[in-house]
Symmetry: C2
Subunit: 219 residues, 2 copies
């Protein structure tokens, strides 16, 4: 009977703790992503999480530690996806098409992460150092080497025009990310700030990019 109570209490506590911690992380993500490290307020995060500042500091002692968690999560969502794109051994063009479809979907689901990463990293590139130390696999650059090797093989086989792997990757990611991070500008200048038109533009852009790239690199 009392054991049952303890068990219930315990399971209730952990469940509850988990919820509070998760609520905080969700709220922190929301605020940090939109306001950035320096613009975010602990008070606003607490409000969004439905708790108070003291409890916020009880879970994550400082603003820096909370930011670090949010940043790491955001980073891990976006970057490994890019390097992972080059891992499989399907043909290059097929791989690129698959990547663009998936990456654009990811960007549409998390439209504020790229601008957040760009902003915070340009202001403090140091963040990456500790992150790289904790996740060595993120810096494994044999992946790009393998991708380059595969490209050169297909070039020799007459499938592709001669292209540099890193230039190609930067171009692909740039074409995917820019319409998202540059949305306020592009939508304003090229689409008379019409949100609906811009969403349509984003919807068809996947195909547009794929065609653009294939046209460029296919032999």
């Amino acid at each position: 009977m009392w054991l049952n109570f303890i068990v219930n209490t315990y399971s209730f506590m952990t469940e509850h703790e988990k919820n509070t911690e998760q609520k905080i992380l969700d709220a922190a993500e929301d605020v940090f992503l939109h306001k950035g490290m320096s613009g975010a307020r602990m008070q606003e995060i607490a409000d969004k999480a439905g708790i108070n500042k003291a409890l916020l500091h009880y879970y994550y002692r400082t603003k820096d530690k909370l930011f670090e968690k949010v940043f790491e999560k955001a980073f891990k969502i976006f970057i490994p996806k890019v390097t992972g794109m080059m891992a499989s051994d399907t043909p290059v063009i097929e791989k690129i098409k698959f990547f663009i479809d998936n990456y654009m979907d990811l960007l549409t689901r998390h439209p504020f992460i790229p601008a957040f990463l760009i902003s915070e990293l340009n202001r403090n590139p140091q963040i990456l150092v500790s992150l790289f130390e904790k996740n060595v696999q993120l810096t494994r650059n044999d992946i790009i080497k393998n991708f380059d090797k595969q490209i050169q093989t297909e070039v020799k086989a007459g499938i592709l025009k001669s292209v540099d792997a890193r230039n190609l990757m930067v171009s692909i990611v740039g074409m995917c990310i820019f319409p998202i991070v540059g949305r306020p500008i592009i939508q304003g200048v090229l689409f008379e700030n019409n949100k609906k038109d811009y969403n349509e533009f984003l919807g068809q852009r996947k195909e547009s990019i794929k065609e653009f790239i294939v046209n460029s690199i296919k032999a």
Copy 2:
């Protein structure tokens, strides 16, 4: 004699005033570009300008007003250049090559402006509204229409493959800007954080982009 003194004093004053104002603007640009609106400190701007906070508020009454000036300058350096690219009536491919050379040079000279614009505009898209009202020509979208018309003409003439003007523009600018705003990430992940290697990469990228685009759109 006393007239001479007044004139000298006056000319000295305006010259001096101009210098102080310019010093403030330079310092403000430096700080805002690196720290953003919320991260910038009036104290730091005053220090960099060699004056004190009180004088800062004497020239620009509030932080917002000072930020506005910096933002407007940064915006005008980068955006009209893009729309201006489509103004001349030289052949499309020639125009694109010319644009890429000039835009990449501009980006190299002001590497922090794009991330600054992206960051601030994603956090507060409202900034653009007042800016557009003050500079109506920025929203003149007949420019893009003319560019599109020119493209379709060259398509019919068998010079170009069928391409959409806006998709092409977004792709070009994205390919130019991403290696700059994403430098910390790209340099870290693809270049083992080697600054020298990355500078070389940037040096050859102009040619790489041009070749990539021409390969894609040339009929």
